[in-house]
């Protein structure tokens, strides 16, 4: 497989970071970084990572089900993750989640028909003091009210979304 030069550079650096003979360590980071570029973990990617790290495809395959951020099917272009854990729950995250499902017409881990948005209910994302918190791809958004949420979704639909955290 061929990847972008930036990703290739990242892979080269990764494989160099671990002690000699310990290149298996690069498996999980490689899968995650590659998934960000190609959309999901394909069988081809599994074999490529196995080859580069010098392990069997099975050894790569077995970690995929374990890590919740690794996906075998593509997510939406924008993956909307809503935390409903206790700190967020306390300040209305469950209502926010219900609001999101209704307005986006999506359930947990579903992708919109046009592939633009996917939705996931997630566990604590480390923004508890600024709850309710969501992540769109890797961007954090804090104190998200239903109105703020709708504005963000509108920006996604209008392609005016800027990745700056708010």
């Amino acid at each position: 497989m061929t990847f972008s030069p930036e990703l290739e550079a990242r892979f080269a650096k990764l494989l160099n970071s671990y002690p000699p003979g310990r290149q298996r360590s690069a498996v999980v980071p490689m899968l995650l970084y590659a998934q960000d570029e190609i959309g999901c973990v394909t069988q081809e990617l599994v074999e490529e990572v196995a080859h580069r790290c010098g392990v069997t495809a099975l050894q790569v395959d077995e970690v995929i089900g374990y890590y919740s951020m690794l996906h075998r099917k593509p997510l939406g272009k924008y993956h909307v993750q809503i935390c409903t854990n206790i700190a967020c729950q306390a300040v209305g995250a469950e209502d926010l989640w219900a609001h999101a499902c209704k307005n986006l017409q999506l359930g947990n881990k579903e992708v919109s028909p046009d592939g633009l948005i996917s939705l996931e209910e997630v566990e604590c994302i480390g923004a508890c003091a600024w709850a309710p918190a969501i992540q769109i791809n890797y961007d954090f958004h804090h104190q998200v009210t239903p109105e703020k949420f709708d504005r963000l979704m509108q920006a996604l639909a209008d392609r005016t979304y800027s990745a700056r955290p708010s």
Binding site: S17, P19, R22, R24, S25, A26, V27, V28, P29, L31, L32, Y33, C53, V55, Q59, E62, V63, Y66, Y67, S68, M69, L70, T84, N85, I86, A87, Q89, A90, V91, E123, C124, I125, G126, A127, C128, A129, W130, A131, Q135, Y138, D139, H142, P165
Partner: protein, 435 residues
């Protein structure tokens, strides 16, 4: 950046650079006490370093509050194997959001803390394990590492000492269990994050089967200050055996939620009322979850205590990861208990049966109870199931699930009972007519 206004009651010794312009850059760090401690430490013996840490009474900020100096003293010397320094920045305990600020605003402080650990055990390699969701922090920390290499604080022959140290980031990919130290090490080796049998502890057999220092991000971040100002000065900030300050993450029903650096032993009620402006909307306090979702809940009448490891342990809960979740009088405790156990059931790695099955049964029973199909006997069943998990699981995730659940039932039994009255009671299936 900061995401909340600081409080005048804070005592900032590890967060004071957060407000400077360009806080993450090495120039800011160097202009503000940066890399002063490592210069001093390079002239010290491992014994002297560990003694200073013991004097500081610094305790691990990851959850268990283990004395850091003692932990470092367990690392065997001269085994002939390489040694490693690992930072736990997996930060996934619900209620906790402080390591994020430390890496975003002061990555060099963390690097310097890890350098001191590296020099102490003459390690040549360290890894910062950062949860996958914190991608932007991986970029920030990678940039800081590159700056440190350029200026000779990482790499070969650091500051002319003849000692080499390389540091790397390593991303997680979504798993709470990978914050447990031995599961983290498995994950670092490219495997599923399943805990290892202990002992041996990571100090003896850790990363790549070698002696390892493994600490939380905030623990390392406190270390440069200790060596600039002395262990005794650090200890004096806190309470006996609980040295220094701590980044307390306050969330939930307060007027000013946020992360605040407070001296150890600061009164918990004062945190709510003075630091955070009291319970919001003029409501009354019902309960506080004091140290992340794993810590048993405190009723309002139990909250007038010093916030440190020993005082909370005495109150049969824990200061854990520093996540304080404040709940007001309108909070539905059964709903909080259910959300908590859903988390642990989702995050149980499935390796040992009491945890895998126990968390799922608790989730099923609590779900049923919450939906109104509970029965009087369920209350004892929940408590009994939780208490039977305690101490019987492979790693502490099972305890982390059982302790708060048992706590909710013990402290708020009346609320569980009230649920039976207000909820639609279970209707027995009609008897089949016998024709």
């Amino acid at each position: 950046m900061r995401y909340n206004e600081p409080s005048p009651l804070e005592q900032m010794i590890i967060s004071y650079r957060f407000d400077l312009p360009n806080p993450a850059s090495i120039d800011t760090y160097l202009a503000n006490d940066g890399y002063v401690a490592i210069k001093k430490v390079l002239g010290m013996t491992p014994e002297a370093i560990i003694d200073e840490l013991k004097v500081s009474s610094l305790r691990g900020r990851g959850g268990a509050g283990f004395p850091t100096g003692m932990k470092w003293s367990f690392v065997p010397r001269n085994t002939g194997k390489p040694t490693y320094v690992i930072c736990n920045s997996d930060e996934s305990e619900p209620g906790t959001c402080k390591d994020r600020l430390l890496m975003e605003n002061d990555p060099h402080q963390l690097i310097e803390g890890m350098l001191i650990a590296g020099w102490t055990i003459k390690s040549n390699k360290g890894y910062i394990f950062i949860r996958g969701e914190y991608r932007y922090l991986i970029d920030i920390v990678d940039r800081a590492i590159a700056e440190a290499y350029q200026r000779g604080y990482l790499g070969k022959n650091i500051l002319g000492s003849g000692w080499d140290f390389d540091l790397y980031t390593h991303t997680g990919a979504g798993a709470y269990e990978c914050g447990e130290e031995s599961a983290l090490l498995e994950s670092l080796e490219g495997k599923r994050g399943i805990p290892r049998l202990k002992p041996p502890f990571p100090a003896v057999v850790g990363a790549f089967q070698s002696p390892t220092i493994l600490n939380n991000c905030e623990t390392y971040s406190a270390i440069p200050w200790i060596f600039r100002n002395g262990g005794a000065a650090y200890a004096a900030l806190g309470t006996p055996k609980n040295g220094g300050t701590r980044l307390v993450c306050v969330s939930g029903h307060v007027n000013k939620p946020g992360v605040y650096e407070l001296p150890m032993g600061f009164n918990l009620l004062r945190i709510v009322n003075e630091v955070c402006g009291g319970v919001r909307n003029g409501k009354k306090l019902k309960a506080i979850i004091p140290g992340g979702s794993s810590s048993p809940v405190l009723r309002a009448d139990e909250c007038d205590i010093p916030y440190d490891f020993d005082s909370l342990a005495k109150a049969k809960t824990m200061a854990g990861s520093g996540g304080v979740v404040v709940l007001d009088e309108d909070t539905d405790i059964v709903a909080v208990a259910l959300r908590t156990i859903k988390f642990y059931a989702h995050e149980s790695c499935g390796w040992c049966i009491p945890c895998r099955e126990g968390t799922n049964w608790l989730k099923k029973i609590l779900s049923r109870y919450h939906e109104g199909f509970g029965d009087e006997s369920d209350i004892d069943l929940i408590a009994e199931l939780a208490n039977n998990m305690l101490g019987r699981t492979f790693c502490a995730l099972g305890d982390a699930a059982a302790m708060p659940t048992a706590g909710f039932v013990a402290k708020f039994r009346n609320e569980f009972e009230d649920y039976l009255k207000k909820s639609p009671r279970f209707q027995p299936a009609p008897e089949l007519a016998v024709v």
